[in-house]
Symmetry: C2
């Protein structure tokens, strides 16, 4: 009973925007603690009010600088802002502190802004689950705009980005041939393209290529004319000085369209399917893996496989027969 | 019985290095067909002879150019070579053809070289499973050196790279602050660092930083003095004209050390644990997800969650109670 009222107290504090309680819960999510899960169960019914914006792009594309400029832009309009800087490199380091992200801390004194880095050491898929849950925490804190920033190329990053309503893909000129494939790959998830460092060589070519690609594949965009915003020198009054405003307008327009065309439900559904997939992994596969590891059977399995007795699929089927009804 | 002998015939053809049979099996692995799984069960006992080399790095780091140069270098020593160019962007596009990778096709006429792009549309983790299995196919074909090339930052890429014995991390100068974190993140998996495009501004600084970082964290490297090889202008007779030979020597030395110090077993074990994890996902979680989707229950779950009835974890626990013994 004491535990129950303590939990209710924590929920109340988070709903009042208490930074310490929210930060502690996010840390517990990173560590995948059981109490974090029960907190999310309590929080979940109160979620669903924020506009969640995902930003993804290659390392060095300048995503954090953009996020920082967007925070300022939203704050001028008196919107409250939460930011999750997601660090997929963390399985090794336990979360790196990035110079770029420290810059966002200039907003640290502003109670309308809450910025957190997020990292996990957990299993594949664990980071995406932590992101989804951390978004719920920021939502319940009352942040009206939540930005999720992550390095993006692989499928895991896509799962992370799928927790968003509006996805911004940040590109930079001069990244070589391979970026072409990545551009093609992210076509399906992008709602807004940003060409950052647009004063660099190759920006015009990148803009032309991207425009051509969008014209070739209108079926991906579902009638939404994907804006391509050129940014750079964001803190200068240079040729792209107005670009942040242009980006903020594009974001607002995309959200308005989601609401007006009744598409927000589709996005929520996509978010929901990602979440239930992760929760099922957590409830079904993780306990089996934990049990195999703790009982020492995983070691025996590894030994059998090294002796080719007989192969991974046959062993996995044996385990499945034993565990599944 | 006819089926049985047909299967044995395919296995024999792959062991003789038949390109068409191997290619068809790899395509079936990409599509996650049941016949691919039974083929891998047959193949698995014959695997384990190849030296598997993983190459990872940011988009635009020039990995494919390096792989191409390494193919030539290994062929001069009359080693047979297999290459898997892994494309994690493919969940959207079904596999992009990259300009870079087409270049490797100059080896297409050489029967001692087998190059394949690999992509999957499947679930999270599906790509890594396909890579592990495709490595087995190339191994059984008799390729002595197998190179696995992938864009790497997130955890999924690490799972892909963990199918290797020797991991090469390719860096380029001038990628911004964020690369610092990635460098820290990949520390634990790298066996050899390459600084490519080493004639660019910032290469000397990157080399110094990397050296300093390696000196600071010797515990990660287990006594192996991680080589940092500077490459660039690989087809010229420029300042890095000898660098490919240097890289080939470092690769051979790393493998020799694994064998001499009896560390190959550890790497095989790491590969094995990755494989059994993926096979368990395949045998346990995938059938449950398939069943929920096909029965229409996934739709009902999504509906419940959109109405906040009650939350993803509670629903996943219900499903787990119903499915697990």
């Amino acid at each position: 009973m004491a535990k129950e009222s303590e939990e209710m107290d924590k929920l109340r504090k988070i709903r009042e925007g208490d930074v310490r309680t929210a930060s502690r819960l996010i840390r517990n999510l990173e560590d995948d603690l059981p109490e974090a899960k029960s907190a999310i169960k309590r929080i979940f019914p109160h979620t669903g009010r924020a506009h969640v914006i995902g930003l993804t792009g290659s390392p060095g594309a300048g995503k954090s600088t953009l996020v920082d400029a967007l925070i300022s832009s939203f704050r001028k309009k008196e919107r409250t802002v939460g930011v999750l800087a997601v660090d997929p490199t963390s399985p090794f380091t336990g979360g790196a502190i990035l110079g770029d992200r420290i810059r966002m801390q200039r907003h640290a004194e502003d109670p309308g802004v809450f910025v957190r880095s997020l990292a996990t050491r957990g299993a594949l898929g664990g980071l995406s689950k932590a992101v989804g849950d951390a978004v719920h925490v920021l939502d319940v804190m009352g942040k009206e705009i939540i930005m999720v920033e992550t390095v993006g190329t692989g499928q895991q990053e896509v799962e992370i980005i799928n927790h968003s309503h509006t996805v911004i893909v940040v590109l930079v000129p001069g990244m070589g041939d391979e970026i072409q494939a990545i551009k093609a790959g992210i076509m399906e998830i992008a709602d807004i393209f940003v060409i950052n460092k647009a004063d660099r060589d190759g920006a015009t070519q990148l803009y032309s290529e991207l425009t051509a690609m969008l014209n070739m594949a209108p079926e991906f965009t579902g009638g939404w004319r994907l804006p391509i915003i050129r940014t750079g020198n964001v803190f200068d009054s240079g040729p792209f000085g107005e670009s942040m405003e242009e980006l903020a307008v594009a974001i607002a327009e995309h959200y308005r369209r989601l609401v007006e065309k009744d598409l927000l439900g589709d996005r929520m559904r996509r978010k929901t399917l990602v979440e239930i997939n992760e929760a099922l992994r957590d409830a079904i596969l993780e306990p089996i893996l934990k049990d195999l590891t703790e009982s020492g059977e995983m070691d025996r399995i590894a030994g059998r496989l090294l002796r080719k007795e007989p192969d991974p699929y046959t062993i996995a089927e044996e385990v499945a027969r034993r565990c599944l009804k």
